[in-house]
Subunit: 244 residues, 2 copies
DNA sequence: TTTGTCTGCTTGTCTGACAACCCGTCTTAA
DNA sequence: TTAAGACGGGTTGTCAGACAAGCAGACAAA
């Protein structure tokens, strides 16, 4: 008590590569560097910033892992400005999950609530073209099923398409992140053709409810659907940690 | 059409530092390395992995920027295992915002929906101790206001405390991320004592509604509260981009 | 037109070097 | 006795130089 703590901010002891990294970041935010633009090669960057190449490399690692650039492999031209921040957010979300900060019950619950919100906006805003996309997605799943292939990817995409149709980027990011965890969990579990048929059937009925603008029905279907997915993934939860 | 495209997956050409980074990550996931443990020094790591120090450094940069380790500055001992993934997620979310992928209207809308969900779980699960924390938070805000200091930090914390009281880590992460954006936006706007009084008053009434287990009232108050915050931040949206 | 080869440049990695810096230890002075 | 100051070993941050692997475009050959 009594002693105020944040009076003296820490003197910023930034490392040079952090400074370089955030300078480049600012250039991107300001629009001076746009997606698709190419950065000079490492040697040139080193000269221009007046630092060593190792410093530049570490700065590039930072930018790369934050989703701002894409470093070409050996040989070809310099780093390219790209925007893959979303993928990086999802990856970190997955890391959180793997650090046991989230369990499947919490995940499903949150997913349910958030996707219900999404559904509301979807029912209000969905366009014909988006409906076509969803229909196409279901058709692709069915084609795979007919060949006895599990359409995992397509089933994940269905939910991402829904999020996109809400026209709210925040939902897109969050759903994308949650689905990354679901996708990861699904790869750990054996494939199951019968369940997949069920999943696709649910997706189809949900889409139908959306087309009918029947929000309540869509939400109910979604709830049953997710609870089923949860019970399917549940065994994973306890089966993990085989470490002594 | 006709030509299948994903038949040949790209030969994975992982760089050594990526390999090193993910090896260490796995050790953390497996529990072989726990939070607080110290990694060997860079030179020792280089020897043990049989690679150069530069490679180790780049691996450490990766781990650092993903929130797995904390590298001590010059001099003191080796890197320490830490878990600051959440902070990194928030930082990336903020980057998304700065890349104009999210605007304030979308943000507020999503925040409203998600915090309403949170409120529902809060009303069901909140404990006495959490109520005390929230009360304390409001009291602190009032103290600052009495000294004519804007309690920005406390006001942000209020919403984080609510999220925590939902007992769902997913909501915690999402709210944390959204509030990082709000906090950042608030620093760009001039302080406003009068508005702050209003904010704290809202928080107080929301807490009261929660204590009364009056979900509907709490949700209504939250909605008005957030819409007010939105209208306060709105000027920022158009005032940006002074670049020609 | 397609295929093979060559050249130059870029990235990935290693090695060696050194200043700045932290921490525990030892010395010294009050 | 104890507290302040000096010392030394170990560590990080950064630089410089080196070289193999690999790509891209030019050019030659089939």
């Amino acid at each position: 008590m009594g002693t105020p703590q944040n009076l003296f901010e820490p003197v910023k002891n930034r490392r040079i590569f952090e400074e370089v990294s955030s300078r480049i970041k600012e250039l991107i935010f300001d629009g001076a560097l746009k997606v698709g633009d190419k950065l000079p090669s490492e040697t040139q960057l080193a000269q221009q910033f007046g630092v060593g190449r190792q410093t530049i490399r570490e700065a590039l690692r930072l930018l790369e892992s934050s989703g701002f650039i894409d470093v070409n492999r050996r040989g070809s031209a310099g780093p390219v400005i790209k925007d893959t921040i979303l993928k990086k957010v999802s990856a970190l979300f997955l890391d959180s999950f793997r650090m046991k900060k989230i369990d499947l019950a919490q995940l499903t619950l949150a997913r349910l609530e958030i996707e219900k919100n999404v559904l509301r906006y979807v029912c209000e805003n969905i366009t014909e073209s988006e409906i076509r996309q969803l229909r196409k997605n279901i058709a692709q799943s069915r084609q795979k099923l007919a060949k006895e292939i599990i359409p995992t990817e397509e089933n994940i995409v269905f939910h991402k398409l829904l999020a996109a149709a809400s026209k709210n980027q925040v939902f897109v990011i969050v759903v994308e992140s949650l689905m990354a965890i679901v996708a990861d969990s699904l790869t750990r579990i054996g494939p199951d053709l019968k369940t997949s048929h069920n999943v696709v059937a649910y997706h189809d009925r949900i889409l139908q409810a959306i087309v009918d603008r029947d929000l309540e029905k869509a939400a109910d279907l979604l709830e049953s659907h997710l609870l089923e997915v949860k019970s399917r993934l549940q065994p994973l939860e306890s089966a993990e940690d085989p470490v002594a």
